[in-house]
Amino acid sequence: MALAETANFMTIDGVPLKKRLAQAERSRKLKAVGLVAPLFLFVVLTFLYPLAVMALKSVTNEETSGRLTRTGAALAGWDGQGIPDETGFAALAEDLKAAQQKREAGEIAKRINSEFSGAMSKFKGITRKVEAMETGPYKELFLSTDKVWSDPALWRVIKSVSSRYTPYYWLAALDLKQGQAGIERVPADQAVFIDVYTRTFWIAGVVTLFTLLLGFPVAHLLATQPARRANMLMILVMLPFWTSLLVRTTAWFVLLRTEGPLNDLAELLVDHRFEMIFTRFGTIVAMTHIQLPFTLLPIYSVMKTIPPSHVRAARSLGAGPFMAFWRVYFPQTVPGIAAGCLLTFILCLGYYITPALVGGPRDQMVSYYVAYYMNNIINFGQAAALGGVLLIITMVLYWLYNRLVGIDKMKLG
């Protein structure tokens, strides 16, 4: 009854009130969207779009597909058994000639070499020879130059890199390759990346565990001390948090050195200098130090909300101190532990600077290899695929964090 009556209310200019309210609501919503739009567009355009471009790079034969168009067309009908006929050889010869004129033949050779080792020099040799020839037949020339050209495996690689898209980088990032019978593992001596991911997970896990073991008692102390003293102690936690990552890494670099203050102390006490810099130990200690506040603070803010009367009640009902802690206090801190540990684990997965400066060659994490393939090897496809695997793992954990904790519950400082 009441609803029906409201529906019939009119505003002063004769429009139903319901309609007017909806209009007002809509314009308010539009205003809110308008406020968020600039940042949202900025993030989409300069973050999500570049990430999409990078994802595309990880599945594209950028170096070869545009340069081997004739070969691709000629090999389209070839079934991968035996060697192709003269049209295939002629098309490759023409493509190589065209590429050589633009000084791009090396790029093709480099890309094929990554899948068929030793191909680099064979390509250089044959490119020089076909350049000298005006017209075919080429098959004879190829086969007499090197017997590698009668290897169907090489031709299968040539065919696969001449297509626009390739699963190669993603497979390689998982230590897999396209074999004749389907996807297979790469030989053990070439398998590196699974090891790198395992190491990354291991380091991130150990650091997360250490930050929890060190952070939990301190969070409890801070949450239960009188406000004045807690604030004083909080400074000791917050100062490292506000200090530059580079400063903290520098500090550990100085501390851990073989001639550093920690070893001076060790020599005084046990007359021995330990090897700590450029080791896994050093990396984990430095990362634990840097991440400790990130684990500690969410646990602290949850502990602040637990009334001390709960534990007192448990004790008065006959629970021992351990039982009261374990059955009453601890379960209430679990949300904080989940939030802190998940955040630290996510951030640890992406560490680059600290392991690069205080870790050894065997302590480098995925990010290091992404940077290495980007800047040293200049293999963008591989860098993009390695980063892609890391990105997917991070996004799954981020989704989990969002589900468990809620992104708007994230607290800083």
Binding site: L214, V247, T250, A251, V254, A371
Partner: protein
């Protein structure tokens, strides 16, 4: 027996409980020492006269500070850091505050999803962001044709990248301030005849200012600390302070890095104090007493 309250224990606590409590305090003390001592230990080392990274034995000197404050390599780095962090702070604070204001309006459509997108630059490993931006900056706007302009090795490129990394912090801090914000204040202001701009300036801004300022500080620190993006998309012209420290450790181990670290620690203390004061002000404004 007057040390019992100090341990936070009732007088009837058993011996085992007292011992356990003592161990707990000792453990916490060691953890706090672990947190603070690496930072403090750099300070005396920076006054060492020799070029070894160790405690000063007999001669104290400020030669590494002279190097830091007067060597072109370092002064240029400081200048670059200040320029980049300044513009990043302005851009990130503006974009982030506006977005937080929009997000905190009641029944914002798909709030959780939008928020997740806006926060994502903070969570994605920065190497991935830097690599993606490197590709993007080589040819912004179009994928195939010749680039109309290139953002790699420019100040604008580094500033935009830092803004991207810094906005999540602003969004988080301002949103946190706005959770206690009474939306009817806006209507009250408007009903008393103030146009939207005046409402914003006179009502909203003073109330959310602690969140905005601490968000701005976070944005500043994000840019001020950032090194990976600078390594990827910047050139030696955009060499910032962290970038210079990075190569200071990697290439030539110069004790100037300890002087730089000490200066940065002093800055961190300053920021910490500011944020603490802001937090107290915010709590006072929201009527929460601790």
């Amino acid at each position: 027996m007057d040390w019992l309250p100090l341990l936070g224990l009732p007088p009837y606590a058993s011996i085992a409980e007292r011992a356990w409590r003592l161990c707990f305090f000792l453990f916490c003390g060691l953890v706090l020492l672990f947190l603070i001592s690496p930072i403090l230990i750099v300070i005396p080392i920076s006054f060492n006269d020799s070029s070894f990274l160790s405690f000063p034995r007999d001669v104290w000197s400020t030669r590494w500070y002279e190097d830091f404050f007067f060597n072109d390599r370092w002064t240029t780095a400081v200048k670059n850091s200040v320029i980049i962090a300044f513009f990043t702070t302005i851009l990130a604070t503006t974009l982030g505050t506006l977005a937080a204001l929009g997000l905190s309006r009641p029944n914002f459509p798909a709030r959780a999803a939008v928020m997740a997108v806006l926060i994502s630059p903070m969570v994605v490993p920065v190497v991935i962001t830097a690599a993606a931006l490197y590709f993007f900056y080589a040819n912004p706007l179009v994928v195939t044709a010749e680039p109309a302009f290139i953002l790699n090795n420019t100040y604008v490129g580094v500033i935009l990248a830092h803004t991207l990394l810094a906005t999540p912090f602003v969004v988080i801090t301002v949103t946190a301030t706005l959770t206690g914000f009474d939306q009817s204040m806006i209507r009250a202001g408007a009903s008393l005849g103030a146009p939207p701009a005046t409402v914003f300036r006179k009502v909203i801004l003073p109330l959310i200012s602690p969140g905005v300022i601490s968000g701005a500080l976070f944005a500043f620190v994000t840019s001020w600390d950032e090194v990976v993006v600078v390594l990827f998309v910047g050139s030696s012209d955009q060499r910032t302070l962290p970038r210079q420290m990075f190569s200071g450790i990697r290439e030539m181990i110069s004790p100037t890095i300890t002087a730089a670290a000490t200066v940065l620690i002093s800055l961190a203390v300053l920021m910490l104090v500011t944020v603490e004061l802001l937090r107290r002000r915010a709590e006072r404004l929201r009527g929460i007493r601790v």
